[in-house]
Symmetry: C2
Subunit: 163 residues, 2 copies
């Protein structure tokens, strides 16, 4: 009897594991599809890359500027070389590097006024695209998804604190 | 009165838009965190990159082999140069290039027996990590999340067919 129970538990454990994997692959595939769509829209409408948009978005949220290390940690998408993007944006006068007061070897990156304006246009369009992409889900479904992802995020944080 | 209603609708539309953006940023952030975790585990345990794992996973699902174009379309993560990864895997005898029967300029990439065995070990560990990462959510929450993401995926497909 205990052997049967055991076997059943193992089967169950394996099925749960498999369900988690399916969930993860679906989560990854949904995210990738939306990312690809936004990537394409940014290219078509503003001729810019997603990492560049992401970098400007991080700077917009931090008006006092961010160090290169902080920028790198805060980026939400992968694939862009941060130094290269900052160099390009600086050349276009959309960001500036500010040397540290206490440590002249360190510097922070900030949006310029022109950078903030350019980003505002893109952010406005971006918000519309995202609303459009999610428009197939009802408000109720969206809010439910938001709550479940919130629980997931909380658990991820807890796990990270434990390691 | 109609003006008030109008204003209210606009407010509502804007609030919905904003809710979609929040949802998207949370979806992106959850996915990025899990991806980072898996990336780190793959490096620590098998000394390989996530794009390399992803590429082998795609080949494992297609035993008849995939062309470079198909591989590129099926990859679920970004950031790896596919030609470079295939070259490395070929050098390590984990994949082979097979010249096309009808078109000698075309070729497909396949896992070798050693490649399938190496991937099986990684896939087993990967499934355990994923189960562990999602273990903070109940089976019920996971299945609900899976269903909502399914609705989202369906809508994304519909939208893609319409464009």
């Amino acid at each position: 009897m205990s052997e049967i129970l055991n076997a059943d538990h193992e089967y169950r454990a394996h099925a749960d594991q498999h369900a988690s994997l399916r969930l993860w692959l679906r989560l990854l595939s949904c995210t990738t599809r939306v990312e690809d769509k936004i990537r394409q829209k940014l290219r078509e409408s503003f001729d810019i890359t997603l990492p560049r948009f992401d970098l400007m978005a991080q700077l917009e949220r931090h008006p006092d500027g961010l160090s290169m290390g902080e920028l790198s940690r805060r980026m939400m998408v992968t694939g862009g070389n941060i130094t290269t993007i900052v160099d390009q944006l600086e050349k276009e006068k959309l960001v500036l590097r500010q040397v540290g007061v206490n440590d002249r070897r360190s510097f922070t990156v900030k949006l310029t006024k022109a950078g903030r304006e350019a980003f505002a246009d893109m952010a406005f369009a971006h918000e519309e695209w995202v609303a459009d992409i999610f428009s197939g889900l009802s408000n109720n479904q969206q809010s439910h998804l938001y709550t479940l992802l919130g629980a997931m995020k909380k658990n991820l944080q807890k796990q990270e604190e434990m390691t």
